[in-house]
Every structure is written in C-alpha cells, then in structure tokens.
Amino acid sequence: MRYQKRTGRLSVPARKVQLATAAMLLMATTVAACGGDSKDDGAKASAPKAPAAIPELTKDPLTLSFIWFDWPPAQALEAFANAEYKKERPNATIKVNTVPNANWHDAMFTQFAARKTDFDIAILDSQHIGEAVTNGNILDLTDFVKENIDVNAYNPYLLAAYGQFPQAETGKRDENASLYGLPLLGDTWTMIYRKDLIGDKPPQTWDEMISAAEKCQADNPGVSGLAFHQANGSDAAAVTYNTVNGVYGGNLWDPKTRKIDGVLNDAAGQEAMDVLVNKMKPLTAKGSGNWFIDEVNAAVAQGKACIAFNWIAASGGLLDPKQSTLGTSREQILDKLGFATLPSQKTNLVPLGGMGMHISAYSSKANQAEALNFMKWFEQADVQKKWAAAGGVPARTDALASPEFLNAGPFNKVYADSVPRMRDMWNVPEYARLVDIENTNVNAALNGAKKPKDALDDIAKEQQNVLDSSNRKGGGGL
C-alpha cells in the first residue's frame, strides 16, 4: 500500500511561526478595519448644510440620479424631467432608478450606511426624513430654500411634511425648523366607487360607506363590497389602520411626551380597529389579506369591487381601457367609476402620502450642485403646472388650483380638496421599526391571526418599547 506524504513539510516551530504570522495579519486587518471608521467616532450625526446659493454648474455631460420605488410616477418623472429640464441644462440626463416598493427603504439606507450612494436625489417618504437627518445622510436645505424657493407659494403643511424635521404638527409648519427636502409628489387616498352600482353620489360618512358597500356586495354576487390595502409589506396595512384611526378620532401618539401606549389603544383606537376588522374586512374578497396598491387596482379594473381605497398617484391606470374590463374607452370607464375624498366620521382626516426630494450627502459636489439647480427649477410655478399636466401631483398652491392639474385626471380635484385634511404618521428615526410593528399586527388582525384588541395593544406596547429603548444596552431591534 502506498501512503501519500507531503514533501518539504515544515518543522513544528516554523508552522507555529506561520500560524502566529497569520493570526497577527488577521488581527491587524481587523484593527485596521475598526480604525477605518475613525471618522464616525464620537461624531454626533447631523445633516451637512447645502450652500445657500447654487454653486457653479458643470458644462460636462452629467447624469443626475434619483432613487424611488417602481410605480407609474417614477416613469412619469424620468420622462418629464428629461423632456423639460434638458431644455435648460442640455448636458444633464435624468435617471430615475427604481426598486420594488418593499425594498425602497432598504435600498436607500443600506447605501447611506455605506456612506456612498449611486443616487444624487433620494425620494424619501415623509416619515423617512427623521432617520436620514439624524444619521447625517441628506443635506440641510434651510439656507438654500430661504434664498431660492418661494415658500409662500405652498400650503405650509405640505412644505413641512416633505422637508421639515423635527416633524411638523398636523396641518402646521414651524417656520424656525430646518428643511431637508422639497416636495416632489403630493398624494393621499381617494375613494373609488362604482357609480353604476351604488349611485352617483359618494357616501359622505364612514358608516354610510360601509352600509353602501354591504348592500352593493349583497346585490351583486361576485363583487366584493370593499377593497383596500391589507398586506404586511411596506406600510400597506398600517396606513389602512391609521386612516380609520384618524377618521374615528384616534391618535397615533403624543409627540410631545413620545407616548404611544395608552394613546393609540385608547377607546377611539379600539373602535377604529373594531370597525376595520369586524365591519370592513368581511366586505373584502377572500384571500385579499395580502393586497396592496396593484391588487386593489386590479380588483377595481376587473369590476370586482364596489368601493376601493388607493393612493391617487397610483390610480391613473384605472382609466386605461387596455387594463380595464369596465369599458372600452376612458369615458365609458368614467361612467362607471367615481373618485371622491374619503368619507368623514368623527373627524375628516385623510392620510398624507407623497414624497419629497432630498440630496444625498455622499453625492459628488458637481452632482449636488446640479441637484440643487434641478430642485430650484422643479419648484417654479410654470414647471409645477407642466408636471401636473404630465401626471404628477404638485405641491404649490397655484399649481394645485390650475386647470392643467385639475383637468389632468378625475382624481386630482380629490387631492386638492384633501390637502387641508391631511395627517401624517410619525417622522422619527425609529419609523421603519414602528411601521413594521403596526403593519404586521394589523395584518395579523385582518387575517385572523390575532384578536383586534390584542393586536392593537401589542402595537402600542411594542412601539412604546422601540421609542423607550434608545438607551438600552444590547438587543436593540428585537
């Protein structure tokens, strides 16, 4: 039998030396890697300031990159900006990179974590601002806005919602607070209802809406009374609950005392959860517990829902005859579909949607300058009207009242009427965790995995833990 034997085997001391060298090398690498973060050490995170005046712009070809999630407004923005902004800056190309909605937050913040971004303008949800500002990921635009933007042209709350941190009180703006972004796309929920099934006049109260849906479902077998967001990804189920919570007079938290437990799950909150789970859910289609924007639109387009709730910015496809079974032309579809502001009950609050533009702190100086120039250009009155005509939802008051906007879609008036009624969620650095807790628990309640009261109490308790655990040593995030 032959035994293989290695030749030139090192002596034991030599091997020890090699092992020790390897260990030292590894330790040195680790220490070096630890040292690489030295600029983080002790540095209190805060957003760097953008210049008040736009620096000199490059004449070289430049691509200005955005990051957003994949939906029709993203394509509309890229087409619009390349068509219009190029007239002013022929050397600039606009690229709107998109990711699936569920990955949107991760795609932006993992790049922020790496302190290197492949985008210049992050389109952040209004609730992401706190996290990005606290971590120093986006530029402070306060001085730039003072010099370049006519703030009086906006509804103060819209300007605050898409840019201000700390968060603005509902309906108000703090003139002394810093601004970190400017509005890109306004949005809120619209009620979509079947005029041919429930009549031309939309329900005015939440109770009326439920009764109409109930009757419509009973009268039309195969058509469900309601369709709304219930999925546990993104903020789907959370926005649904928050909307009902607002309508029934509930509050998500007390921002001054940072108190959630006892506020969210008070009597109004419990009533809202009861309405959602026990009155609205039974009127939805079987298996709709994982529906979000696209599924709700599909149900409406296929004539499978009497009343539905969806974001206005995502509703354009409903009027496309190629995607609908309700008619062969836009007019025929509009004979059957109506769009209205949300019914009120104890209050008339509606959810604030939409997003703002925020400049990455890690983008190059030339691209940051171009981004500032783009924002200044975008917020002009005539450009906002063109954006409205191109399918966007502007934030300037004059653009919102313009015929270009109001005539562009049947739901645009709904948005204009909803602006004074908007309420946002929490805009705090812990937002991603808060919304996940709410999403999963509301989704559990809607799908029978938890009792409504237990779900609401769990949300309140877990969210309170998140807010209270900032000084906890270890186990953050569980």
Partner: protein
C-alpha cells in the same frame, strides 16, 4: 526528458529527501512556495470574503454598533446575546423555523426517497425522468416564489381554480395562519425534493446487485429486501442529504420574503427573516450580528451531533 521527482514513498514513515529543483527553475521557487503561490489567491479570497466578515460580525456582536447611525461601537459584553436568547419574539421565530424545517425536510425525504426508489427500478427512460425531476432545483428561489404566489392566489390562482372545478371551496393559502406555513413547506418541497432524490438515487444505484440476487435465490419478499438490503445501505447517504437540506431550510429567507413577507402577522417569519428585519429596518448591526453568530453556532453544534451519529452508524 527526465522523470518527474517522486512525491510519494512506498513505505510510511520513510524520510523523504528534499527534491532539488528542476534545472532552469529558480532555486527560491521550491515546491512549497509554488504550492503557496497557487493556493494563496483562493486563501486570500476565503479570508476576505468569509473569515474576515465572520470575525467582524463576531466583534460587532459584542457592541451596540449601528451601520446607519455610525458613531463608536461601544462594547456591551454579552448584552446582545442575552437579549436574543431571552426574547419572546425570537422564541416565536425559532418555533416557526423548527416546524418549517421538520415539516419540509421530512416531507422532502419521504418523497425524494420514494421517487428515487421508483426511478431506480425503471430501466427505460431513467435518465430523462431524472433530468425532468431536477428542473425545480435549478430554478431561482425568487422565480419559484413568484410563480407559486400567483398559483396560490385565492382569487385567480390555478390551485383554487382546480379545487373549484372538483367542487371544493376557495382556500386562502397565503393569508391564513395555518395554510401559510403549509404553503411554504409545500413550495420548498416542490423545489428541493429533487435534491434528496438525486442523492438517494446515487445510493440506490451503488447497492451491489449480488445482494438482491442472493435474496432472490432465498426467495426473500420485496419488503424484506427493501428493509434489510436497500434501506440500511442507502440510509447513511440519505442522512447526509437530510443534513444538507436541514441546514439550508434552517436559513430560509427568500421564499418567505416573496410568498408571505412573514405573514399573516409574523406567523411565517423565520429566524433569517427576523434577522433581516433587525439588520435592515432598525439597522441594529450589533444585535443582528449576534443573532447571526448564534444561528451559526446552532448549526455547528447540531451538525456535530449529527455527524457523530453518522460516524457511529458507519462503525456499527
């Protein structure tokens, strides 16, 4: 041309003389240096891509570091580990993962071995059948997740449509607590049964024919032959396949992400999915690192026990 220098000896323990370098080769380029030169790129890659991240994660697991918040990584001892091990949230996910691993791997083993046994008895079309069965395993889990999501849709999915055509009612496959986990197990089984089948088929093919011939001469029944020849010989190989599948299933993330997003509620959230949330929703890098290290430890410890059992089985 000269014969190459011998690298082996006929007798163990014999001292091997150091072979002088071939003419024309630099004296410094000994066999050992050549070996080091050839393996060093792979070793560096391994160190850079596997060993260093593991050590880095180990370091972070003892700190309160957050990737987005930056700032110093403060040493907090075993704080993260204690929090994870005592967290009710983690216990829930561990139970879900356990049910999933046992359900999916058990089902895959039974089906995989059954299919392999049936295929091994065929003489015609065996290759084509094997290839056909392997197709699911070659697909990306994301693709598999997406088309199963459509197939299992309660409203327009083909599965409910088929159930409806035989007079059965609609089932909410992905949105009910019990059916959602079952759906995950079914989809994973659809994709990974071929893996067990392939290994079992290799084991079945390797069983010496003469054993069956001897059993035939003794007029042994089919069941007796299966019980006393086939199963004992294939069993060790099957157990290795089970181990690989169990490790994979323990780390399940992609199917959960695509099919249920962990829902309804958190009822299909596995440990890996939970780590993802800890790491990327709150960017609690320290906690997520400790969570990951604990998962690695669990796999290592369980695998060691399993391998010892396998060795014992082999010795017996």
């Amino acid at each position: 041309m000269k014969d190459p220098a011998p690298l082996t000896t006929d007798h163990p323990g014999q001292v091997v003389s150091v072979t002088p370098p071939a003419p024309g080769r630099s004296r410094r380029l000994s066999d050992r240096w050549l070996a080091v030169t050839f393996i060093s790129p792979a070793m560096l890659l391994l160190l850079g891509m596997s060993v260093f991240p593991l050590l880095w994660a180990l370091y972070l697991s003892f700190t309160d570091y957050s990737a987005t918040r930056g700032g110093p990584a403060n040493f907090i001892g075993f704080g993260n580990y204690t929090a994870i091990l005592t967290s009710a949230q983690v216990h829930t996910r561990a139970l879900t993962t356990l049910i999933y691993v046992v359900g999916a791997v058990g089902l895959q083993t039974v089906l995989g071995f059954g299919i392999a046994y049936l295929i091994s008895r065929r003489t015609r079309g065996r290759g084509a059948l094997t290839t056909l069965f392997l197709v699911p395993m070659m697909l990306s889990p994301v693709v598999v997740g997406l088309f199963w999501r459509f197939m299992l849709d309660a409203q327009f999915g083909v599965v409910n449509s088929m159930l409806g055509s035989v007079g059965l009612g609609q089932v909410e496959w992905l949105t009910r607590q019990r059916t959602a986990l079952v759906s995950l197990i079914v989809v994973d089984t659809w994709q990974w049964t071929p893996f067990i089948m392939l290994i079992a088929l290799a084991g079945l093919t390797a069983v010496p024919k003469y054993l069956y011939e001897a059993a035939s001469i003794d007029r042994a029944s089919e069941w007796f032959r299966f019980r006393t020849i086939t199963l004992p010989l294939v069993w060790p190989l099957l157990l290795i396949a089970v181990m690989f599948r169990a490790i994979e299933a323990f780390r399940l993330f992609d199917l959960v992400y695509i099919l249920t997003s962990g829902g309804p509620g958190v009822s299909t959230e596995t440990l890996s999915f939970h780590i993802y949330k800890v790491a990327f929703l709150g960017f609690n890098s320290g906690t997520a690192s400790a969570y990951g290290i604990l998962m690695v430890l669990v796999v290592i410890v369980l695998t060691q026990f399993y391998l010892r059992y396998l060795n014992k089985l082999k010795e017996d």
